[in-house]
Amino acid sequence: MEAIILQILNGLDKGSAYALIALGLTLIFGTLGVVNFAHGALFMIGAFCAVTLSRILTLSHTVIDESKTDFLGNPLKVDVPYVYDFFGQATGDAIIDWAVPLSILFAIPVMMLIGVVMERGLIKHFYKRPHADQILVTFGLAIVLQEVIKYFYGANPIPTPAPEAFTGSFDFGAMLGFDPNMIIYPYWRIIYFIFAAIIIGGVFAFLQFTTFGMVVRAGMADRETVKLLGINIDRRFTLMFGLAAAVAGLAGVMYTPINSPNYHMGMDFLVLSFVVVVVGGMGSLPGAVLAGFLLGTLESFASMGAVLEVLPGINQIVIYLVAIIILLTRPRGLMGRKGVMED
């Protein structure tokens, strides 16, 4: 029982990352009709926004400490962050400690800008080209972005911890009446799930309850008619691309304390996110979210020891297996709309 509850929690947690990325992918596909293989790279860049901000916050000047020596026997050079000079050590430490949450504020404008530049600068030119061309150019872009990040930050993972206050685990078991320490879950993963829920809710609310969102939805349904009504739908779609980039970026920012970010992390998520989008139904936002959580949970259950004993290796294929079954029985995916990608 405890094991099942834990794997459900794992699934929700993993699913929230899948859902956030798949949501952005679907937004772009639904509005612009572009299959964006660079979306994983946006997730990765988001994570590196957090790395960058924590580097900025720890920018230091060196002070020579004569009482200690470095590995060559010379006097030790100690790096003192500038924030210590500005705010004193205690406040400085607190600011550095909270670098990841602070990065949310930093990442939103940066990611929006990157998204808009990407759309206006490159992807715009591929709207009328076949999907294969779009996939090739965005995949190429993803590789370029990866290599740029590797050039500046190296290939090794960079530890980016959560604030001290959130490093422990929460004892669900004790709350639900189980033995203590049997069902514990890290605070930050719970926060990640809540954060994902807020972002997903926010995007849906934005599309559902604002005039801007209404126009975008209308554009998704029938672009030509909306254009004929004299609305500049292209500009709105560009902004949606920026929004999708920001969603992926925020998913990346908040993910950094869970796994130390490296240049390759986007690719690890990309393929799975595409499966999520296809299973959910191309162009369906609720489908992407639902499929994200569904596949995340399935993957977690497939990794359980008891399951692996019966079906060894199932953990590595379960997502693709389920995707095949769903596509065979419901070719449009769980919540796919008629007419999307069927022309």
Partner: protein, 450 residues
């Protein structure tokens, strides 16, 4: 209308290609007039450094390349000479190898077997490399070693820890200085027993590839021999990044030790996840829960940040060693690059020097003569104490370091502290040990390539 496929241009192209194809074998054998492939004819000799310059191990590869460049500098008489001053063999004079100035070419293994083979092949065939060295993965090492065996070139392995490199996949032309899974297990077990007791239940998470298997096998064998019980061993996909689904079952098992047979990014992520799930604060069977990482790398430990503190593992070499050889190497590397070398850099530097020394002593670059000079060679002053290059499997036997993540690091390089230097006798095994491929494992015959 008929259209002929023969054109003047097409014919010329085909002719040129055929001509080049026919000339190629002659070109290769022309270099082999001394009786071996790529015999150096001019005043220089070319070494091939095959390291990961892209991909997940690129930082480790970059450190290996720094070490090789330093070795070349020292071999040619530049710098402060580094370990040439402490090396017990005095055959090297700082005037290149056999009087020939050392030059080098580099290849990118990308930590992929096929890419590594292609770059090694190109360095051998196009650049005339007389020896190939480097790498940061056992899969790559085994693949490149086999290629060098076929081509007739000496392969001096870089960082490769799987038993198979000098076990079931050993080759007459291949040599490994780095330690292996068996040695890690043998060195770790007594330290684990004295720190955590002999009544422990271990849960293994193992990377699903060659190195993971041999490491799990070695650690299980040596910990079970002293009384530990292995309650579960779960294989994790090499591409896994979030290990939460594999960590949570550990919470429910009655295991009180988690062994992470992971390296590189896998290690950073699984260790970070395990710590997030509170495993280090957990009490099981009245005992403190513990985590063990059999193979440590300082470069990678950095990625796991605070999480490595207090966790035991083993390593081939560490810059804080106080012997003369290590100090000399750290000094020349640190002065040139501004930070201490990694264990990958150390093993690569030592391999380059050992090769050069063997050529000097053999008086020839011929692979079989070099191999003979390395076989059974005993040396000291290279940072690991007295060392033997065993003739039967081309594995170096030397002391092994058991390390622990440091509680109070004084700098970003000061992440591991040496807990024990396990003497070589304790990590010695028979060449036909079952973990090493048993009685069937054989070096085969040395290949000069011509």
């Amino acid at each position: 209308m008929s259209k002929s496929n023969f054109t003047r241009r097409g014919l010329l192209k085909t002719g040129a290609a055929t001509g080049a194809g026919l000339a190629l074998p002659t070109y290769l054998s022309a270099a082999a007039h001394e009786g071996y492939l790529n015999a150096p004819t001019g005043s220089t000799v070319t070494l091939g450094f095959n390291v990961p310059q892209s991909g997940p191990y690129a930082d480790e590869g970059a450190d290996e390349l720094r070490a090789y460049e330093l070795a070349v500098e020292h071999l040619n008489g530049g710098g402060d000479g580094g370990m040439l001053n402490t090396f017990s063999s005095k055959a090297l004079q700082g005037n290149g190898i056999l009087g020939k100035k050392v030059e080098y070419v580099t290849g990118d293994t990308q930590t992929k077997s096929d890419a590594a083979r292609a770059s090694a092949k190109s360095m051998i065939e196009k650049d005339g490399a007389i020896m190939i060295t480097g790498g940061s993965s056992s899969g790559v090492a085994v693949a490149v070693q086999a290629l060098c065996q076929e081509a007739g070139i000496i392969f001096m392995a870089g960082l490769t820890h799987s038993n198979d490199t000098t076990g079931k996949d050993r080759k007459a032309n291949g040599f490994r200085h780095f330690f292996n899974s068996y040695m890690s297990g043998a060195a770790l077990a007594p330290v684990l027993a004295s720190n955590y007791g002999t009544d422990r239940k271990a849960y293994h998470l193992t990377a699903d590839y060659n190195w993971g298997y041999t490491t799990e096998e070695a650690v299980r064998a040596s910990t079970e021999a002293m009384g530990w019980e292995t309650v579960a061993a779960v294989k994790t996909p090499l591409t896994q990044t979030d290990f939460s689904a594999y960590i949570t079952p550990v919470l429910q098992s009655d295991a009180d030790v988690l062994v992470l047979n992971h390296y590189g990014g896998n290690m950073v992520n699984s260790l970070t996840n395990a710590v997030q799930f509170g495993l280090r604060e957990k009490m099981v069977n009245g005992k403190q829960f513990e985590i063990v990482v059999p193979l440590y790398s300082r470069l990678m430990a950095k990625g796991a940040g605070e999480n490595v503190k207090g966790i035991f593992g083993s390593t081939n070499w560490h810059w804080s060693l106080q012997d003369e050889g290590s100090q000399a190497f750290v000094k020349s590397f640190g002065t040139k690059y501004g930070f201490p070398p990694s264990q990958a850099a150390h093993t690569c530097y030592v391999q380059a020097l050992l090769y050069a020394d063997a050529v000097e002593r053999a008086g020839s670059f011929a692979p079989c003569a070099v191999a003979e000079a390395l076989e059974g060679f005993e040396f000291d002053g290279m940072g690991n104490g007295p060392t033997l290059y065993r003739a039967e499997d081309h594995q170096c036997f030397k002391d092994v370091l058991v390390v622990k993540g440091k509680e109070n690091p004084t700098s970003e390089f000061d992440l591991l502290e040496i807990v024990e230097v396990t003497p070589v006798d304790q990590v010695m095994y028979a060449p036909d040990h079952p973990q090493m491929g048993g009685a069937e494992a054989s070096l085969g015959t040395c290949n000069n390539g011509a």
